[in-house]
């Protein structure tokens, strides 16, 4: 099979792109070559000292597909011809990590287009090494040891967190060495069947609950911080050898006649790293799964079925392990929902005087847009892991049509990343259903307007879309226009030197006719140095307002921020009435705007 790295499992946010499901790797080997491929992405992979890295595995992917290639002895690589889209590029090679994964975690992403040349600098990965011994000091041979990255060096884990579990086994001295680690905070655990349960021979540790460094269960484990390239030695584990329990059951409806397969993954309920994974092939008449060596605790069992088109069905179930085996589980996959629609790019007005102001390409095409939906967190403490259809990304094809698929039931918010900084979203509409136009049952769409209104359009960008299981919502149309403006500035307060509270900046349209156009509102979070940035803005007149913000999770990404709901919009308009008006011309990038914040007397 053409898939690499059997001992490493990605739990990236981007699983929606069809991340390397074990059995499907060979299918994903090619870039989509539908009509008019437009060039290649080339580049070079080097290490920290500038030396080439040969045989690095390079992953070039966009929601339209991915292309993989490897670097030659000079570290150089080139993809095949790729269709126009926005691509991310990352690489991996044994012993190294790609710093772009840390950027991704912070919400930053760099996109490339066919014709670009990329330099990827790989850094030496960190190392954790030590010995595993029994209670009386004897070495444990060939026991699995996992280094589990649970959060980044700074900040809490969020749904962007790059969790990754590296696994090795001990040698005859009980020594293990796990290398190539991405900087972060780790837990180390020994024992059990290994991440995939694929032991070539049974071992005495198969049914044990893992022992965490130094010699505890998960709750008492000591964290290990790994900076870039750092080596942590003497991470010795005194093995407890406590039997874990079995979690087993059957996939009720996973049988297919094609090459689909279902991955069944166990996550701790409060975290998003993988405890263990199993795979059930669609053609296999035996649809049983068994996890051994599971410690007491709360878990989420997530099953996801993948076919050629990506994730097609999923189910998630809470499992409690309390002192005994949990057997007889029945997982019934539920079909996943989808949203389809079109992205239309308006033509650039001929002879527009402002064209020269625009820095990026105005010849963008719809397929360079990236769309993303994420499910809103449930009222209960939601699991952090992305399993089960909480998110999807898509890019339009050459006709501008897109398909966001593989979504679980729930309420979703859409974010749009235009092709480049010169474009903004002018309208986003979803026609209310009538029997001739869409397939979605009325209950599937939650309108922001009263039901009695005629076929008015609702704005899915902020009202959200509620999807029923397996439903398909059609007719989402996004119109993008050229001439987007940008605004950068920083916040100052009268009381210099006092600690700045966390701020959010609101951009409010000044024109009366735009007061109800929710897309003209924008929100940006202020960074620790007081700076803020708005991009992809429609030209026009605006007012700015700064307000202390409630503490919340850092923004998932740098896409268009969510505009506030109708009630808040009215509130903001009232508050902003007295502020200055900023006028933004097409393609104007206004920098160094200073916004004074005056604390309110009362709320």
């Amino acid at each position: 099979m053409s898939c690499q790295a059997l001992t490493v499992r990605f739990n990236l946010l981007r699983r929606a792109f069809g991340a390397c499901a074990f059995l499907l790797c060979a299918l994903g080997a090619h870039a989509q070559t539908d009509n008019a491929p437009q060039g290649v992405i080339t580049g070079r992979v080097i290490d920290e000292s500038g030396q080439p890295v040969a045989n690095a595995f390079i992953n070039v992917s966009s929601p339209r597909g991915r292309a993989n290639t490897s670097s030659d002895t000079d570290g150089r690589f080139s993809t095949d011809n790729l269709p126009r889209s926005a691509y991310t590029v990352n690489a991996n090679a044994p012993g190294y990590f790609d710093p772009s994964s840390l950027e991704f975690e912070r919400g930053e992403r760099t996109y490339y287009q066919p014709g670009d040349a990329v330099t990827i600098r790989l850094n030496k990965g960190g190392v954790i090494t030590g010995r595993v011994t029994s209670a009386n000091g004897e070495p444990l041979v060939a026991v699995h040891v996992d280094a589990i990255r649970v959060r980044p060096l700074e900040g809490q884990a969020n749904s962007n967190t790059f969790t990754r579990t590296f696994e090795r086994t001990t040698d005859d001295r009980g020594v293990y060495r796990i290398y190539g680690l991405t900087p972060g905070v780790y837990l180390v655990a020994a024992g059990g069947q290994g991440m995939f349960g694929f032991n070539s021979r049974p071992s005495p540790y198969d049914d044990d609950a893992p022992t965490f460094y130094p010699s505890t269960t998960h709750d008492g484990a000591t964290e290990i911080t790994i900076q870039a390239g750092q080596e942590a030695t003497d991470i010795d584990i005194r093995y407890r050898g406590e039997p874990g329990h079995a979690v087993s059951g059957v996939l009720v409806n996973g049988q297919t006649s094609d090459n689909s397969s279902t991955s069944i993954t166990l996550f701790p309920a409060s975290s998003n790293y993988t405890v263990s994974s199993r795979f059930v092939a669609g053609r296999d008449s035996n649809q049983v799964f068994v996890f051994n060596g599971i410690a007491d605790g709360e878990y989420d069992l997530v099953a996801e079925q993948y076919s050629r088109d990506g994730r097609t069905a999923a189910v998630s179930q809470r499992v409690s392990v309390r002192g005994k085996d949990v057997t007889g589980l029945k997982l019934a996959l539920a079909p996943l929902a989808a949203i389809t629609g079109r992205v239309v790019l308006e033509a650039v007005p001929a002879g527009a005087a402002w064209r020269e102001q625009c820095t990026s390409r105005l010849d963008a095409v719809a397929s360079e847009t990236t769309l993303s939906v994420r499910r809103e967190r449930d009222a209960r403490a939601d699991a952090l892991h992305p399993g089960g259809g909480r998110l999807a990304d898509a890019a339009p094809d050459d006709k501008g049509e897109f398909y966001l698929r593989g979504l679980a039931a729930g309420r979703f918010r859409l974010t749009v990343r235009p092709p480049n900084s010169d474009w903004y979203v002018r309208t986003a509409t979803l026609a209310l259903p009538n029997s001739a136009r869409t397939n979605a049952p009325p209950a599937a769409i939650r309108a922001g307007v009263p039901p009695s209104a005629p076929a008015a359009n609702i704005n899915p960008l902020f009202d959200g879309l509620t999807l029923a299981a397996g439903s398909q919502v059609n007719g989402l149309t996004l119109t993008l226009a050229p001439g987007a403006a940008a605004l950068r500035g920083h916040v100052t307060t009268a009381s210099e030197g006092a600690a700045l509270p966390e701020f959010e900046i609101y951009l409010v349209p000044a024109e009366r006719e735009r007061a109800d156009d929710a897309l003209r509102y924008a929100t940006a979070r202020v960074r620790s140095d007081g700076a803020f940035t708005f991009t992809h803005l429609a030209p026009g007149r605006y007012r700015l307002l700064a307000r202390p913000a409630p503490a919340r999770e850092p923004a998932d990404d740098q896409f268009t921020s969510l505009p506030p709901d109708a009630q808040t919009r009215a509130l903001l308009r009232r508050e902003a009435e007295t502020t200055d008006i900023i006028e933004l011309q097409p393609c104007q990038h206004l920098k160094d705007y200073v916004l004074h914040y005056t604390p309110k007397q009362a709320h």
Binding site: S2, S70, S71, D72, P204
Partner: protein, 575 residues
């Protein structure tokens, strides 16, 4: 040649586990407690297997002993039917063992099992467990394995990370001894270029990294450069390699290897066309290693390359060597029947890309007919016919032929259709996965049996073929007696089962190994008379012809068991 590597004893904190190899030569004959030569028939109860694991008289605790089923048809690695870990006395007891055929294995990766039959040491000790078995004394005697460790760097002194090690014995005579066969690529270097191979049988070894040409493997993957095979001694020639001495319980360190510059891989390009010369889009390409006589050596694979709309393909990252390439209309390795069969094209990569390869997919012949079961009308049995898969392959004549066969499923009414057949003599067989109890009796075409296969011409549609299977649940339980008192050392005793009265070379039903206690079992036989032949399946020394040690006829009833005893009469070898 002595290696200049260091020999150093390991020191472990647990002296009880550290065994220095003294002069004691553990007999290669299986060490079986004589009480267990015949099973103790005690009162009815579930079967158990028990014994002790020791290393130089010291008990070894924490060793997992397992009974692995011989016929595993589940998805994923085999699961043990019973397992236990040795206690502080080194004792284990496997209880509630279901009836069946198993390999008894002791998993202690840092050790060698010194009382194992070298021919079967890697698989385990065969035991055909019956319901009343109470087997004691299934002991394992271990010796501490040896260790080879070193570092792999390149000419600039930089470590080579995740380089996979290959170890073969320095003495060619030992190379056929399975105990010396270490799975290739089981050990690899870490981020410092350091590797550590443990659990080795004492001896002299050649250690290498990298890939050699024409070794019978094919390389599926994306790495565009590779390290040419380099032995310890920094040479690419096996004859020049420095042997490494391994002593039981000791570590041989400093076995460092310096590799040269990575070598380039190349591309092979071409087209897939149909029999009219029209391009075939979306065809998958499969390639395998080809030996000097122009035959596929057995391994083949695909990296997912498919032809584009113009039927063109480019296979990348190929090492120099001899290859055979063929195409597949549907998904590579899928079970879906295809209407076409492919040529195979041989090509060699020396030091540049190869282009202009052309592979033809030709519309194949088809065979249709009915599959029936003889000797029973039991509707439960007839209903299971749809679980069978009928495989078909054309007998290879000359030239390079893809080493694949096609399969068809059986419809509810017993009919089948096999398509995409190459012209020639087509053999039918029961395909994978096997369904217990069914054996192929005969294939009939035009009213006559076709034991040599059915002749099909190009594109023909042969119909009216009748495939007759038998279903049976009869069982033969046998016991082998050794007049010398014990099984000969180094022997691999087996029993061949044929239908009595079948013509020479036909009627083969099954071949089973005789277990450690001299017992064998043949299951799922249909009623009839069978001929059993007892022989030693160990590879004979050249010049010797194997003679059967015993031969008997057995009548098997419809259901139930029949017992038979065979005597291992060792006849002198004939010239």
């Amino acid at each position: 040649m002595r290696s200049n590597a260091l020999l150093r004893s390991t020191s472990t904190s647990a002296r009880a586990l550290f065994c220095v190899l003294s002069v004691v030569a553990c007999a290669l004959a299986p060490h079986v407690n004589t009480h267990a030569q015949t099973p103790v028939r005690a009162s009815k109860g579930s079967a158990f297997v028990a014994g002790r694991v020791t290393c130089e008289e010291h008990p070894v605790a924490g060793v997992l002993v397992a009974l692995m089923p011989v016929n595993w048809s589940g998805f994923g690695p085999p699961q043990p039917a019973a397992k236990a870990t040795t206690d502080a006395e080194g004792r284990y007891r496997l209880t509630n063992v279901p009836v069946g055929s198993y390999q008894l294995t002791a998993n202690a990766p840092a050790y060698i099992i010194s009382n194992a039959n070298p021919l079967t040491a890697r698989q385990g000790r065969l035991l055909n467990i019956t319901a009343d078995d109470q087997l004691e004394g299934l002991d394992f005697m271990l010796t501490r394995g040896g260790v080879i460790t070193g570092r792999v760097t390149n000419a600039e002194g930089k470590p080579v990370v995740e380089a996979r090690l290959r170890i073969i014995t320095a003495d060619e005579a030992d190379r056929r001894n399975p105990q010396y066969m270490i799975p290739p690529f089981a050990f690899q270097t870490d981020d410092r270029g350091v590797y550590r191979i443990y659990g080795l049988l004492a001896g002299r070894y050649l250690v290498s990294v990298g890939e050699g040409q024409d070794e019978g493997f094919i390389r599926v993957g994306r790495a565009s450069s590779y390290i040419p095979r380099t032995f310890y001694g920094d040479t690419s020639e096996q004859a020049q390699a420095k042997p490494v001495e391994v002593v039981a319980g000791a570590e041989t360190s400093g076995v460092d290897i310096t590799v040269g510059k990575p070598a380039h891989t190349y591309e092979a390009a071409g087209r897939v066309v149909d029999e009219h010369g029209q391009p075939v889009a979306g065809a998958g390409l499969i390639y395998g290693a080809v030996n000097a006589t122009g035959r596929f050596t057995g391994g083949y694979g695909s990296d997912g390359t498919r032809t584009n709309e113009r039927g063109e393909f480019r296979m990348k990252n190929l090492m120099p060597g001899h290859y055979g390439l063929f195409a597949s209309q549907g998904q590579a390795f899928s079970q879906e029947p295809s209407a076409t069969y492919s040529d195979a094209v041989a090509f060699e990569i020396i030091d540049q890309d190869v282009s202009g390869l052309e592979i033809k997919l030709t519309h194949g012949a088809s065979i249709s007919g009915t599959l029936v079961v003889e000797g029973t009308n039991n509707p439960a049995v007839v209903a299971r016919l749809t679980e069978l898969r009928l495989g078909a392959g054309t007998r290879a004549t000359e030239g390079l032929v893809p080493p694949v066969s096609t399969e068809a499923h059986i419809n509810a009414d017993g009919s089948f259709l096999i398509t995409g057949l190459r012209p020639g003599k087509v053999q039918l067989f029961l395909g994978y996965p096997p369904v217990k109890g069914f054996t192929l009796l005969r294939v009939q075409h035009d009213g006559a049996d076709s034991p040599q296969g059915i002749e099909v011409t190009s594109g023909a549609q042969v119909s009216g073929v009748r495939v007759v299977v038998a279903y049976g649940t009869g069982v033969i339980r046998g016991q082998v007696q050794y007049p010398s008192g014990a099984r000969p050392a180094g022997a691999r005793i087996a029993v061949n089962v044929r239908r009595a009265g079948a013509a020479e070379g036909e009627g083969y039903v099954a071949s089973v190994l005789v277990d450690e206690l001299g017992r064998f079992v043949v299951e799922n036989l249909s009623a009839g008379e069978y001929e059993l032949t007892l022989f030693d399946a160990a590879t004979p020394t050249p010049g010797q012809r194997r003679q059967p040690a015993d031969r008997k006829l057995v009548n098997v009833p419809d259901t139930g068991e029949v017992q038979v005893t065979l005597v291992f009469n060792q006849t002198p070898p004939t010239q």
